[in-house]
Symmetry: C2
Subunit: 365 residues, 2 copies
């Protein structure tokens, strides 16, 4: 099946383009978009399975420092051994026509280098969040992808998650009236051997890794950019885990409309991800920033003044969010469009995280 430009436009007008088009385009192009996964850690496994479920993407390359591990995964996903690269040899993927894009699933401090090398190799880039470990690196990543004329997308899963999109729509269409305030938290009790608590790899503490969900959510919920930031960091546990990054951060953000948000993040305790949005006609709560089991609750007063309760879950299971992500980049590649969560979106969060650190008295990022 191929689609004429007119058919495209029609699908777009019906709001169906995002569902129908990638598949049609991929079929039109005669092949699936090929992803090379750089770094075969925990999150790469979700992505590999996500792409396996996709009708428009496939895994066509792997980059790993462990060839044995890579060979096993290659066999599982039908990747030829010739498309397995070491980090050193990775640039050779330039000549591999089966690889359209890379998924950068490395520790944060390596995002910039591998995004830039991939761009120079002519590959589109889907890079995990946080985008980088400095604002300057994020800017360099954008510049490199621009220069190479490749797409740069930051892997903000929830921008493609239906219940989150529904929540944003409910807030935008006035169902809840005006947003006044947001509370959010996201964190966990980190293990002793996690790279994420080591600044040379992570670039910072829980804000970078999980607090970023609250920051990003406050932005997509309001559709605004924070104007005033206040913050405080702390470290409680002296058990050797927090020698290079802080354990906790609490911060507030004030948006141009006047919406205030207050958030916390931790590497030292159980902190199930959630946000609550307080509005003039009601309030809502989203539980879970994770890969599944998102739940939206709350209530609002309708036009007749009657209280309407909400309680909705997204029944989709992992790795659906990763399929959606990969499909979005595939669509952007095929249609030559800018990803919704572009490098600029990642850069904005980097700038706000730098501001949060600054407000807490720390010069970072």
């Amino acid at each position: 099946m191929t689609l004429s430009r007119r058919e495209f436009a029609k699908l777009g007008a019906l709001g169906l383009a995002s569902q129908a088009v990638p598949s049609a385009l991929a079929q039109a192009s005669g092949r699936k978009i090929g992803f090379c996964v750089i770094g075969l850690g925990r999150i790469a496994d979700h992505f590999l399975r996500g792409v396996k479920d996709s009708s428009v993407c496939q895994i066509t390359g792997l980059v790993s420092g462990h060839r044995d591990k890579a060979l096993k995964i290659a066999a599982q996903y039908g990747v030829p051994a010739s498309s397995i690269y070491s980090y050193e040899q990775m640039d050779a993927m330039r000549s591999n026509k089966a690889i359209d894009a890379v998924y950068v699933a490395l520790p944060n401090s390596m995002h910039a280098e591998y995004t830039i090398r991939s761009a120079k190799a002519g590959k589109h880039v889907l890079c995990e969040k946080p985008m980088s470990t400095s604002v300057a690196d994020a800017q360099a990543m954008i510049a490199a992808c621009d220069a190479a004329k490749v797409k740069l997308m930051i892997a903000y899963r929830l921008h493609y998650e239906p219940l989150t999109l529904k929540t944003i729509k409910l807030l935008r269409d006035g169902t809840f009236g005006e947003i006044q305030a947001i509370n959010s938290a996201n964190g966990f009790n980190i293990g002793k051997n996690e790279w994420r608590k080591d600044k040379p790899l992570s670039g910072g503490g829980p804000l970078m890794d999980v607090g970023i969900y609250s920051l990003n959510a406050a932005r997509y919920l309001t559709g605004e950019e924070p104007q005033i930031v206040t913050a405080s960091n702390s470290t409680i546990d002296k058990d050797g885990r927090f020698t290079t990054v802080e354990e906790n951060t609490a911060w507030t953000m004030t948006f141009p409309s006047g919406v205030v948000a207050s958030c916390t993040t931790t590497y030292g305790g159980d902190m199930p991800g959630y946000y609550r949005v307080f509005c003039s006609k009601g309030w809502l709560q989203m539980d879970n920033f994770g890969y599944e089991d998102l739940r939206l609750t709350g209530s609002y007063r309708n036009s007749e003044g009657k209280r309407v309760a909400l309680d909705e879950t997204n029944p989709e299971r992992d790795p659906k969010q990763f399929t959606r992500e990969a499909d979005h980049l595939a669509e952007c590649i095929l249609k030559n469009q800018t990803p919704k969560t572009s490098g600029e979106e990642g850069l904005r969060d980097m700038r706000y995280m730098k501001e949060i650190y600054r407000a807490a008295g720390v010069n970072n990022l």
Copy 2:
């Protein structure tokens, strides 16, 4: 029944004194502790009903600007017409032996004057929160009660509420490990005719009235005093309600141990009161800072590493919290003890609210 000093001590050691003693003491003294209610607004009604349910207290006086209204209430609670005072004549209660204590249920800016006049009339004082509309007033209230040798208690209901006390105990005894962070919010969409949004009566915005619950909770949950405060105020609605006070406040507090708290309050939206406490071994949430329907949920890992879920409600109905408050002051009067929520406790919150305002760039309180 009368209790010897030895019997008292025994009850205290068993932790039973607080339940058993007021009644025993009141019976020993031959009469109930008499309360005069100053201000017959909405909250006074809860208190009147609360005292009616008490076995150790009774309503013995009323102060009101509306004698007709006062006469009706007096009839309902068995108060003689001679014990109804106007605000101007109130000081005459000095010679009324049936009145042991007053309950100050007036707008915030009148708390200081009526607390001090009551103290000078030789009456113990239970004063609503927020204690006053300035730190200096709070200090003057304490000094006046000290000078008159009367008790001063601030009406922090939740310090006497069993589910709250259980939550504090669970946090103190290590069930949840170390507290890392707290989120809390409390607010509501205020009506056009509420005195609470008028600074001359309220002294400030939602922080003073409802945000104070989050502030006070963070203090009783941690058992610590905040060391660092950050904050931001905003006003979104330009509908005439917020000409003298701000509509929203977001703030953070950092405690000496390193616990961070982030909170919001509003007068512009639905904001059900709650706090979430994030700890090294689990997390808990209390819903509702109100008069009933408090619910504690969450989970923790026990000593065997097994996840234990909590879901508990306090089935007590309004006005039980008011009965508990009145009974506590009665006990303190009878035993000559300092109330758990003394004037000093109220003064501390006044100081922190002043700090929150200051952090938000406002010179207030």
